[in-house]
Amino acid sequence: MRIRSPPLQELDTIAEIPKEEYVLKCTSACAGCSDSLALRYVLKAAGPDTVLVVPACCTSVIQGIWPNTAFNVPVYNIAFGAAAACASGMSNAFRAAGKKTNVIVYAGDGGTLDIGIQAMSGAFERGTDFLYICYDNEAYGNTGMQRSGATPLGARTTTTPAGKTDAKKDIDAIIAAHDPPYQATAAAAYPQDLFKKVQKALTFRGPTFIHVLAPCPPGWRYSTEKTVEMGKLAVKSGMWVLYEREYGRLTIGAQSKAAMKKPIPLEDYLAPQGRFKGIDAKTVDIIKQRIARNLARLAAEEAAP
């Protein structure tokens, strides 16, 4: 199944990540933006023979103002619900022309879980040779933080001023139902892990998916220097789980294994974030139960023969 099998770079330290930059200076990202942080490592892993397909999302803004661009790979901007379909046409055209160019969708959670889900499901079902990356800041960030299907229970957004009453949609389970050769979760706070997963995903022929947690300082209402810390707290509390699923076989990441054994209190993750301010104990309890159920489900899947 693999068409390209470069030796995966074994990365023990961040210093081994390539020095080439594809996210150049002068992006218009907010301070502490983990969308651009994650993208930096995604493109370092993918290299120059890559095209980004970007639907309406923060990345459409942070690339700069036409005719300039802050990204050093071609970026094709497309309408909100159309990224995966556009990439599907692009990938087919490249392959028809005998080109191995990486086609990577880089989409937010709204463009993935909500308006783009039909096109994405279709592209996965059709076995499109592409990598779909959803960077998830758990709301419509570009338009000023309205709730999305990815907003967690209890989080305040501009359209859930009293806190969201519905739980976060499990897009990873939906992707898993399409049985892609490779899917993974990652976090901008763990760049080496993200880098390796992108490199690995690009070795498969067919549709691959990486779901990246991308904490957002203005949206989540924490101070900008805490972006990496926030991602780590999400993993350490079990709110976000790092794993890979290769040909259906689940492997939970070491960081999440540690969190499963000895998680930090969920309150340590919630407290620094303004969006959870005033959350009631009952909602916190429901989130805790959901985390426990999710971790148990993943542990059971990993342990299954």
Binding site: W66, G89, S91, A96, Q118
Partner: protein
């Protein structure tokens, strides 16, 4: 090669000869035969295109856009609600200056579910930046599809082209078809702004109030330039293959006192009505409008004009009649007929002329002749 084919088959035959790199399509009545035929060509190895069986029309156009921007030749086909569903992306294709070619089998819009001929679907795409041609015979459906690729991909145009054929009245009607080898009539596609990873660029990013109007003006400039490209393409087609097409197809217009203007099969039917009227001593002519965009300069000076619209803009009027009154000072009688496949015979068309009341609108089947 001479054969008998439906309008849909004729489109598929033309597509086979032009060999698009990528075809993405979603089935809808009455377009289905086009995609089925193409799928068969691809699966039988007769056509070496990538065929993407997308999950919606929105995705069909998005996939054509994604493929086209790499420099690939692309084709899709749709109808009615399918066209409406891809509306966001039809705008994108034109705005991104991508020469996507699409066949649209004209069909009414719901509710209720009506699968019969009407032009309102395509006319709702009038302002998207697509070139639009309306055909009236199986042969014309084939020839127009061939020419569409050459026109769309011409570097003075680089805009998408929509070929419109009436649902069932043409899509499913068998007529003689003469297929040709287009040879170098359609040169290989060469997209000047194709994606090149060795020369990375951003496409369609943030564009401010100081730039956007330039981008939009550029579409209009190319639309105007397209007039010459269409003329030249049709001239060369006639020279090479012997079949002549214009912006309009005029029948006995020269000495006519009253001219029927219509699109698609109604426009062809009007020629029979003209013959009947001439026998009665009425100096009638027919001007079948082929290209709606770019809209041609119509020579209607000194004529009474009977416009038949198989479409409507609520609160305004027949769309073609509105277009024509905007261009000419001549008196127009506006006829709304054929909506949702309503039967309109050449006898009826002759009646529209016989009972014409200039400066009014007449809904066939609703209004009474005075």
């Amino acid at each position: 090669m001479k054969k008998i084919a439906t309008g849909n088959k004729a489109v598929a035959e033309a597509v086979k000869q032009v060999r698009p790199d990528v075809i993405a399509a979603y089935p809808i009545t009455p377009q289905t035969e086009i995609v089925e035929q193409i799928a068969e060509f691809v699966s039988g190895g007769e056509l070496k295109s990538r065929y993407i069986p997308v999950e919606s029309e929105h995705s069909a156009m998005a996939a054509c856009i994604g493929a086209s921007i790499t420099g690939a030749r692309t084709f899709t086909a749709t109808s009615s609600h399918g066209l409406l569903y891809m509306h966001e992306m039809t705008n994108w294709a034109a705005g991104a200056r991508l020469p996507v070619v699409m066949a649209n089998v004209n069909r009414s819009l719901g509710p209720g579910w009506n699968i019969w001929a009407e032009h309102t679907d395509a006319l709702q795409e009038r302002d998207t930046g697509w070139l639009q041609v309306y055909v009236s015979t199986v042969q014309e459906a084939y020839d127009a599809t061939l020419m569409a690729f050459r026109i769309a991909e011409h570097n003075d145009v680089l805009l998408p082209v929509m070929i419109n054929l009436d649902g069932f009245l043409l899509s499913h009607i068998m007529q003689p078809l003469d297929t040709i080898d287009p040879g170098d009539f359609i040169p290989p596609m060469s997209l000047p702004h194709a994606i090149d990873t060795k020369n990375p660029a951003g496409y369609g990013g943030l564009t401010g109030p100081d730039q956007q109007f330039r981008v939009r003006w550029d579409i209009e400039r190319s639309m105007r330039d397209a007039v010459k490209v269409i003329e030249k393409t049709q001239e060369e087609f006639a020279k090479r293959f012997g079949r002549k097409y214009g912006f309009t197809e005029d029948y006995l217009c020269g000495d006519a006192e009253v001219i029927i203007v219509a699109m698609g099969t109604l426009g062809k039917e009007a020629e029979v009505a003209v013959d009947m009227l001439r026998q009665e001593g009425v100096k009638a002519g027919s001007m079948r409008l082929r290209w709606l965009r770019p809209f041609p300069k119509l020579n209607l000076k000194g004529k009474q004009v009977v416009v038949i619209d198989r479409d409507y803009s609520f609160g305004r009027g027949g769309i073609l009649a509105t277009e024509i009154t905007a261009q000419t000072k001549e008196q127009v009688a506006s006829i709304i007929a054929g909506i949702g496949g309503q039967e309109v015979t050449y006898e009826d068309i002759a009646d529209f002329v016989r009972h014409r009341c200039m400066g009014t609108e007449f809904w066939f089947g609703v209004d009474k002749y005075v």
